[in-house]
C-alpha cells in the first residue's frame, strides 16, 4: 500500500497568508518528509509566494485571484500532470496539523476503497473547535443536508483537510466547483460514485490572517451552496466522469 514509489503531493492554497504559509510549509517538510509541497499562491498581494518558496515549497502563482476553487483545481491539474498518486490539501493558515496526515493515510490503508479521506473536527469527543456560532450553524446545516443526500454521515463538510487518491485527483482536475468548493465537492464525489470517508483530526485556531469566510459572508455562502446543492440534485449526472472530456478545463488542453 505504502510503496516507496507512490508519489505524494501536499497542496496548500494560499491567499495573502505571508505570516503563516512559511511555517506550514516547513511543518509539512518536517512532519511528512516524503511529500512534495506545492503552494498555490492565488494572486496574493503580499509576499505569500516568496515566503513559500523560501520555506522550500514549489509555487504556482496565479496571475490574479481566482478564488479557492480555481486555485485548488490548479493544484489538482498539477498533481494529475505530475503523476502523483496521492494528494493532500492543507490550509495555509496553520489550522491543520501536518502530523494528522498520518491519520488520513492510516484510514486509507484500512479502507483502500476510499477515494477521498476527509479530516473532520466533529467526529469523536472533541467538540471544542472554536468557530463563530454563525459559521458552526452553517456547517451543521450542510452536514445534515449532505448526510441525507449522500446517504452516509458527513460531519464536517467544509473541512479543507483532505486526502485524495488518483481517481479523485482526475475527477477534480477536470471539474471542481468555483467559489466555496468543499461542500459541493462531496456532492460531486457522490454523483460520480467515488467513495469518501471521514476521520477525526485535531484542528487549531487560525495562526493569523483573516478567514476566507467572514461572518458577514456566511449567509451569502450558505445560500450559494444551498443553490449549488439544489441545482446539483436536478442536474443529470454524471456530467463529467473521469476520462471524459469536460466542457472547459485546464487539463483538457492536453499539453503534457
Amino acid at each position: 500500500m505504502h510503496s516507496a514509489f507512490e508519489r505524494r503531493l501536499a497542496v496548500v492554497p494560499a491567499y495573502n497568508e505571508e505570516q503563516t504559509v512559511g511555517r506550514v510549509v516547513r511543518a509539512l517538510h518536517r512532519d511528512v518528509p516524503g511529500w512534495d509541497v506545492l503552494v498555490v499562491d492565488d494572486g496574493s498581494t503580499d509576499e505569500t509566494g516568496l515566503c513559500a518558496r523560501r520555506a522550500g515549497a514549489d509555487v504556482l502563482r496565479m496571475p490574479f485571484n481566482l478564488g479557492i476553487g480555481g486555485a485548488m483545481q490548479a493544484g489538482f491539474v498539477y498533481a494529475l500532470e505530475g503523476d502523483y498518486d496521492l494528494m493532500v490539501q492543507v490550509d495555509a493558515d496553520g489550522q491543520h496539523d501536518p502530523t494528522e496526515i498520518t491519520t488520513l493515510l492510516e484510514s486509507r490503508a484500512r479502507h483502500s476503497e476510499s477515494d477521498m479521506v476527509c479530516g473532520s473536527r466533529f467526529l469523536g469527543d472533541d467538540h471544542r473547535y472554536p468557530a463563530p456560532i454563525s459559521r458552526r450553524t452553517g456547517i451543521h446545516v450542510f452536514a445534515f443536508l449532505l448526510s441525507r443526500i449522500v446517504g452516509q454521515r458527513v460531519s464536517d463538510p467544509t473541512s479543507g483537510f483532505r486526502l485524495y487518491n488518483r481517481r479523485a485527483i482526475e475527477l477534480f482536475a477536470r471539474d471542481y466547483p468555483h467559489d466555496y468548493p468543499e461542500v459541493e465537492a462531496i456532492l460531486m464525489l457522490h454523483h460520480h460514485r467515488l467513495i469518501m470517508r471521514e476521520e477525526h483530526v485535531r484542528m487549531y485556531e487560525r495562526d493569523g490572517g483573516v478567514s476566507s469566510i467572514s461572518s458577514g459572508k456566511s449567509v451569502y455562502y450558505m445560500i450559494k451552496v444551498l443553490l449549488a446543492i439544489g441545482v446539483g440534485l436536478l442536474r443529470r449526472r454524471p456530467v463529467v466522469s473521469p476520462g471524459d472530456a469536460a466542457p472547459v478545463t485546464a487539463s483538457g488542453a492536453n499539453i503534457g
Partner: protein, 130 residues
C-alpha cells in the same frame, strides 16, 4: 397607435439599428453579439412600423393600449439579451480561469525553482553578469 407615436418608435429603432451596424463596422462589436441585437431591433421595427400587427399582438395578449405592447415586447427582449450576456460572461469567467491555471502551471515549469540550490543559482547569476 397614432402616426406620431409610430414615427417616434420607428426613428428610435432605426437609430439603434444604425448604431449596431456602425459598431460592427468599427469592429467594436462582434458579429455573434451584433446578430442578437439586430434580430431584436428588426423585430421591434416591424412591430412599430406595422401598426396592424401590433394591434393584433396587443389584442392577443390582452393589452388594450397597443404602445404598451411595444414596451412589453422590448422589455421581454431586454431580459433575454441580459440572460444571454450572463451566459456569455459565465463562459468567459470559466475560460479565463482555465487560462490563468494554464499560465501558472507553465510559468512554474519554466521558472527555475530557486529554493532547490539557492547558493549555486546565485553563483551562476553572478557569473552570467560578468
Amino acid at each position: 397607435m397614432t402616426t406620431h407615436q409610430r414615427a417616434v418608435a420607428v426613428v428610435a429603432t432605426v437609430g439603434l439599428l444604425i448604431l449596431v451596424f456602425d459598431l460592427v463596422r468599427r469592429r467594436r462589436l462582434l458579429e455573434r453579439y451584433a446578430l442578437v441585437w439586430m434580430a431584436v431591433t428588426v423585430l421591434l421595427l416591424v412591430l412599430s412600423a406595422w401598426g396592424g400587427l401590433l394591434d393584433r399582438v396587443a389584442d392577443a395578449i390582452g393589452i388594450s393600449y397597443p404602445p404598451s405592447a411595444l414596451f412589453a415586447a422590448a422589455f421581454g427582449f431586454v431580459i433575454v439579451l441580459l440572460l444571454h450576456f450572463s451566459v456569455a460572461v459565465s463562459r468567459l469567467t470559466d475560460q479565463s480561469k482555465v487560462l490563468a491555471q494554464r499560465l501558472a502551471l507553465l510559468e512554474q515549469r519554466v521558472t527555475p525553482q530557486e529554493h532547490e540550490e539557492p547558493a549555486e543559482a546565485h553563483a551562476e547569476s553572478v557569473t552570467a553578469d560578468r
